[in-house]
């Protein structure tokens, strides 16, 4: 209670009356902008043209299903309105394209016009906050941080908060409290490492299944590592939704900058590079691993030929263990479901355990590197990715069985698990803020 009160007071300690959103025509820009406006801030949406900013404002209204919200939002364009809007803002929210040069240029412009006491937040999904603040003024660097909402922020509350080297720690505390209480976020502080916490862990799994798709085909992979393994959406369908180009940017950035025990799972498959160059960008381009057209049967990418085949013509293995897990999840018997997962035999069960074991191993090995504690990693995977948090899986599988899965698959056993095994820890996970059962999905 005392903590809540102190945090609430901190959120009130600094009025955020005016917010300016740059890149307000983009999905992330206008949806995040809607959050600030909903919190009562007078918000200005800026884009290259006023028309684009207006489109963003309409999008914000649609996102919260209220035209009343749009009354709190002004619109403008960079060339005419940026200097004044930025100068008046208490908080400047930069959501331009995820590209270092473009962001760098925009931040330079902001630095020129902002008040020395205003806050600058960027919504980058993995670029270095410290690097973005380089060659900026000292006051800018002190007041600059990363605020990474996940798409769509109206639904997904997990949010990463990243300080750069020069960021004022008091500002980080304030934004944490402000975002929690005023924007309704579940905040996770992460290190300024490539991909931060969520994407670093999540895209490891996503890219690994892209690699596996080459051998087994997308339809089979999305079934073997389907929703029943603890996610709201099957992984390749997720990559389609995220966009292959975005997937590439995130994976390449991490592969270039990081050295860890599983970095080879981050090497993006060549077939994806080839197809991206030919315009395959996932859902937004109409085709990715899957092609879904209204009224037509689902079509699936044949990776070798690059053609799309009717899903009904593709042979998919029956997975009796998965069906059993789905039934057990459907009646809330999550531990029994995980027992089936642990003990199921055969090639497909082995493959599923390899991927999920890889996720648990990789995520828990990152504790201390990308977040201070395990709860940070768990929170962002649950509230940011809508995936079963790694600790919840360990809790349901059991520490001993988890370690066995990792050893069987030659995966690194994280120090956290080694300790739990040594101490005979029974309860591995206990986080009341996350509604755990939700992640044990009863769907294929």
């Amino acid at each position: 209670m005392a903590d809540v009160r102190a945090s609430r007071q901190l959120a009130e300690s600094r009025p955020i009356k005016k917010v300016v959103v740059l890149g307000a025509n983009g999905t992330m820009g206008y949806q995040s902008g809607a959050l600030f406006a909903a919190a009562g801030a007078q918000t200005t949406f800026l884009a290259r043209t006023r028309d684009k900013a207006r489109q963003g404002r309409d999008g914000a209204g649609r996102a919260v299903r209220s035209s009343a919200l749009t009354k709190l939002i002004d619109v403008g364009c960079y060339s005419e309105d940026l200097p004044q809007a930025v100068a008046q803002a208490d908080l400047i929210f930069e959501a331009v394209a995820e590209n270092f040069e473009i962001k760098h240029e925009m931040l330079e412009l902001i630095d020129r016009h902002r008040r020395p006491d205003s806050i600058v937040a960027t919504v980058s999904s993995g670029l270095s906050i410290t690097d973005l603040a380089k060659s900026r003024s000292e006051s800018f660097a002190r007041n600059f941080l990363g605020l990474h909402f996940f798409n769509p922020p109206q639904v997904i509350v997990g949010t990463e908060l990243i300080a750069g080297q020069a960021t004022d720690p008091a500002l980080v505390d304030f934004i944490d409290a402000y975002s929690t209480h005023k924007l309704g976020r579940l905040m996770v502080r992460t290190a300024n490492t490539p991909g931060f916490a969520g994407n670093r862990i999540g895209f490891k799994v996503l890219n690994e299944v892209c690699q596996l798709a080459e051998e087994y085909g997308p339809l089979v992979i999305d079934k073997v590592v389907g929703r029943y393994t603890g996610r709201a959406l099957a992984p390749l369908a997720t990559v389609d939704l995220v966009g292959w180009d975005v997937h590439q940017a995130i994976c390449d950035n991490i592969y270039d900058k990081v050295k860890d025990e599983a970095i080879e799972t981050y090497r993006m498959p060549d077939y994806m590079r080839r197809l991206i160059a030919a315009g395959t960008l996932g859902t937004k381009s109409g085709k990715g691993f899957f092609m879904r057209n209204k009224g037509e049967p689902l079509r699936v990418l044949d990776i070798k030929s690059g053609e799309y085949k009717d899903a009904r013509s593709i042979e998919v293995p029956k997975l009796p263990f998965a069906e059993q897990i789905i039934f057990l999840n459907s009646i809330g018997a999550y531990k029994r479901a995980m027992e089936v997962f642990t003990t199921a035999e055969g090639k497909w069960a082995n493959l599923a355990r390899k991927v999920i074991g890889g996720y648990i191993s990789y995520a828990l090995c990152r504790v201390g590197e990308v977040t201070e504690s395990v709860i940070g990693v768990d929170s962002i995977m649950a509230a940011g990715f809508n995936w079963a948090p790694p600790s919840a899986l360990v809790e349901a599988i059991g520490v001993k069985s988890t370690v066995k899965i990792l050893e069987d698959n030659k995966l690194t056993v994280p120090p956290l698990l080694e300790r739990a095994l040594k101490n005979g820890t029974e309860r591995f996970f206990d986080e009341p803020r996350l509604s755990l059962g939700k992640y044990f999905v009863a769907k294929s």
Binding site: V64, S66, V157, I326, I331, K438, A442, K443
Partner: protein, 410 residues
């Protein structure tokens, strides 16, 4: 009140924002999470439970499954052989289950009873669901062939207030805004991430369409999947429970008073019968005064707050004067003065209520009592009413037909 006190040890509610159909789940998963969560919250041994009561309105319709008492046994193998039953009184089903459980404790039959309220509603679309809810009214006479019958019935409640005392839309809008604002403080509330503002509630149009007379979308409670479980205990069990936890028995809340009455099922009959009376729904008033009398309380001023049945803004408007917070017909005064807000003179629905926290029909009565428990034990987190000692519920089934009040305090 009989001399055998009924203690409340605590409980657990599921996250009302969840869509269990989307998760592919049977309501048993919901029941299991709620009961197991409650066992965990109270650190209780499931072996100790001697009887279980399930409150549920319409699983036969929403899930094509009856016999919900039997599903309690499926929650844990140790429950095999337990006496269980299911109770139904439309939106007051949860409270009726609580009344049955508390009667068993009072009678000295059992020392520890579990009460679980549950409803899965997202199994069907809104129109079909609206039709099912119509069975809480006199279906043949009031609901057959009517789209969304309940908003219309509670719109008529507003019309009756308007006729007798005058009623302004702005006061109903304010009720909605307060509930949504409170829900933002409640980590289990369905609408905690939704956008709401005074402007939005007042805007009547495409974003906020009329659904039944003066009732607009923002006046309505939600269609919700959810379950809530609480444990009721005898003094003997509560004494041992307190001792093993190193707490005082006097720190455990108990049911200080209750009221329960049923009016004519047809809304028009209720209004006809209350003609010329101060209270628009006199049986609801009787339920509340019965609870005060049994709790040996003079009036509402002895309460620290209320969790009421705001299935629509008009029902909360009715609750304000029926509790006696204002004189009959003057509910607007409590709204204008900010009395009903957290921090006000008589906070109503600090949880967000049915509008903000959600309304899984059969679970609501249990959820309300669980929230009272949280308030009087100082464990309501962000939506805590400072120094709460006594909290009351008002749970209503149908158009003001079955009404139940519990007063919970330490």
């Amino acid at each position: 009140m009989s001399k055998n006190r009924v203690y409340i040890l605590g409980g657990y509610q599921t996250d009302f924002a969840r869509n269990w159909t989307k998760e592919g789940k049977h309501f048993l998963a919901m029941m299991r999470e709620s009961v197991r969560g409650a066992l965990h919250a109270c650190a209780l041994d499931p072996q100790d439970i001697e009887a279980a009561h399930v409150g549920n309105f319409a699983a036969e319709l929403y899930c094509k499954q009856g016999h919900l008492g039997a599903f309690f046994v499926e929650v844990d193998p140790v429950f095999r052989g337990l006496p269980t039953s299911r109770h139904e009184a439309a939106c007051a089903s949860g409270s009726i289950a609580l009344l049955a459980g508390s009667a068993e404790i009072e009678a000295g039959r059992y020392d520890l009873v579990a009460v679980c309220g549950i409803e899965a509603m997202k199994t069907v679309g809104s129109k079909e669901g609206g039709d099912y809810l119509g069975t809480a009214a006199w279906y043949e006479l009031e609901a057959r062939g009517v789209d969304f019958p309940f908003p219309k019935l509670f719109g008529q409640l507003g019309d009756e207030y308007d006729k007798r005392y005058g009623l302004k839309a702005e006061h109903l809008d304010a009720i909605s805004v307060v509930n949504y604002a409170n829900a933002k403080l409640n980590p289990y509330a369905q609408t905690r991430t939704w956008y709401m503002s005074k402007d939005h509630a007042c805007a009547k149009g495409d974003d906020n369409p009329a659904v039944g007379g003066r009732i607009h979308l923002t006046d309505c409670s939600q269609v919700t999947d959810g379950a809530a479980t609480v444990f009721l205990a005898s003094e003997r069990y509560a004494t041992a429970y307190a001792r093993t936890r190193g707490i005082k028995l006097s720190s455990l809340p108990y049911i200080k008073g209750w009221g329960h009455s049923t009016a004519s099922i047809r809304f028009a009959d209720k209004i006809e019968q209350s003609k010329g009376q101060e209270y628009v729904l006199p049986t609801v008033r009787k339920t509340i005064t019965d609870a005060f009398r049994r709790a040996k309380m003079n009036d509402v001023t002895e309460l620290s707050g209320i969790e009421t049945h705001d299935c629509f803004t008009t029902s909360e408007y009715m609750a304000i004067d029926h509790f006696g917070i204002t004189k009959p017909g003057e509910s607007y005064k409590a709204i204008e003065e900010g009395w009903i807000e957290i921090g006000g003179k008589m906070p109503i629905n600090p949880s967000g209520g049915l509008i903000g926290a959600g309304h899984p029909v059969g679970a609501t009565g249990v959820r309300q009592v669980l929230d009272c428990f949280k308030q009087v034990t100082g464990t309501a987190g962000d939506y805590q009413v400072e120094g709460a000692r006594n909290f009351a519920t008002l749970n209503i089934g149908g158009s003001g037909t079955t009404s139940v009040t519990f007063i919970v305090g330490t």
